[in-house]
Subunit: 299 residues, 2 copies
């Protein structure tokens, strides 16, 4: 199968369309890379860009977007609600097909090194690419944001970058580069208007309160439908898979005489997460990925 | 999404590797077409070739393989267990992505017309491309095989070809060209050694005896595992989907106190059949195909 790495960099510009266009143009210019889209948020003044390609392709495309953002975005003039530490704020690489998480860690390090050396921007490796345990959590890396980091780099050894200079870039700030699993935004709807049931079930499946390791969950009321929802982020669908989480919610709801009335995937989901779900419910024996016709066509 | 037609022609040669290689080489030579494989069967003296491409691509590739088989295979010298009527025996086109069944019927007609006009081989349209109801069933089209058809074409009006001459080709015979859904070979294993339960359940789900319209089923014993199996061909997974058939089998088995212990897909399965299965079991609301990451990458 062809190798596919998914890259989802976030840039600190969600308002000036020409700037966003010039950043995404860098992606389209690289061979073997496909731009999936750009999702600007004017309130956060931030854009999420999404592209896929080979390891070699995404290294080049990611580097070029960071270089272009450094040229076009000045963090000193940036206002927006979302915490940020750089013109390019985060650059996560996600394994999709024919590549491992370790491959994506290597990709992150290669891009990080180039950004540090060639663009003079300090780089922090995060999540699976982290070189220190506390940097696995992006919130720790970004703590203090642009303005705070400006004072700390070069003084606080805990904030020393993995690559690049021991001082912040005066306009482009710093960049977090990492590797992670695809995140699935997944909600389960329950046939009751009692939000406490959703909240209680959210607690029972989420990691924070003793549930599945890779599940973040909250309970909400969906007023217009008169039902409630367990709203989740599944941050590792291989280890904490959709079907297991859903069946646990179903069982917990049944304890209150409540049924699952529906579910929803928000945004993108890797094919593998759905294929694994079908395999589990159908009890498939010895099923190989190569048996999916599309995997043969696209290999 | 890019258009993908799947073509699975069968040729009456399963022993001479050089002949098979020269036929598949015709596929590889066409732009926009991907050879998935060739599966020769020496006992049947027959090879199943599998390739995908755009409508334009598969028309050209299919025509070229038929031309090459006409040159290399003499049916007068063909021996094998499988019924056959031509050097190229059947050429089915299957819609996979971005094309409808009607598109595949058009593809079949275009290829059929070219085979008739340019190669002087009589062509019968079958399954969804059939021009007479009795020709929907390939067995009716192939009745009498090469030797029988040689006597009937030009005499029996029921056997008049859709394209090409009103006589058989002296060495290449005739060809059946059609359009059909992908076929899923699907087996469900039951935790009992009583083969009568598998046979009874097979009857309850198969079309022939009152079951689902697009299901063919038989009951077997799997001696080495001490269990039994409902072995099926699902010939239209959209109208008679995997999950519904499996859940019916599960319910019928429960009536005997028997459980489903496993299931298997033999060969290839379209991604859509598994995605629909996941959607059904997860009770997904408003899920769009474009939410599958791979569909965005490959569009």
């Amino acid at each position: 199968m062809a190798e596919i790495v998914w890259c989802v960099p976030n840039f600190s510009e969600g308002r000036r369309k020409d700037v966003i266009d010039r950043i995404t143009a860098e992606v389209s210019a690289v061979e073997g890379v496909k731009l999936l889209g750009a999702d600007p948020d004017p309130d956060h003044n931030r854009v999420v860009v999404s592209f896929t390609g080979t390891r070699k392709g995404v290294v080049e495309a990611a580097f070029r977007t960071v270089a272009r953002a450094r040229e076009l975005i000045d963090l000193n003039e940036h206002e927006g609600e979302h915490p940020r530490m750089g013109a390019t704020d985060v650059v996560p690489f996600v394994p999709v097909q024919g590549v491992t998480m370790n491959d994506c860690v290597e990709v992150a390090k290669e891009v990080g090194e180039r950004i540090g050396n060639e663009l003079d921007i300090p780089v922090y490796l995060y999540e699976k690419a982290a070189t220190r345990p506390e940097r696995e959590n992006l919130a720790n890396v970004r703590k203090g944001q642009f303005e705070g980091l400006r004072e700390l780099i070069g003084k606080d050894p805990d904030r020393a970058p993995d690559y690049g200079p021991d001082h912040i870039h005066p306009t482009a700030g710093s960049v977090a580069v990492g590797a992670r699993m695809p995140l699935i935004a997944y909600n389960v709807n329950l046939g009751t208007d009692d939000v406490n049931i959703a909240k209680t079930i959210a607690k029972s499946v989420r990691h924070l309160s003793g549930g599945y390791r890779h599940v973040k969950a909250m309970g909400f009321k969906i007023k217009e439908r008169g039902i409630v929802q367990v709203s989740m982020n599944l941050v590792n669908y291989k280890q904490s898979p959709i079907f297991r989480v859903q069946e646990t919610i179903r069982r917990e709801a049944a304890r209150y005489g409540v049924t699952v009335v529906g579910a929803e995937v928000v945004g993108l989901v890797p094919m593998e997460a759905l294929v694994e779900t079908a395999k589990w419910y159908l009890q498939l024996e010895d099923f190989q990925d190569e048996q999916v016709l599309e995997n043969r066509i696209w290999e």
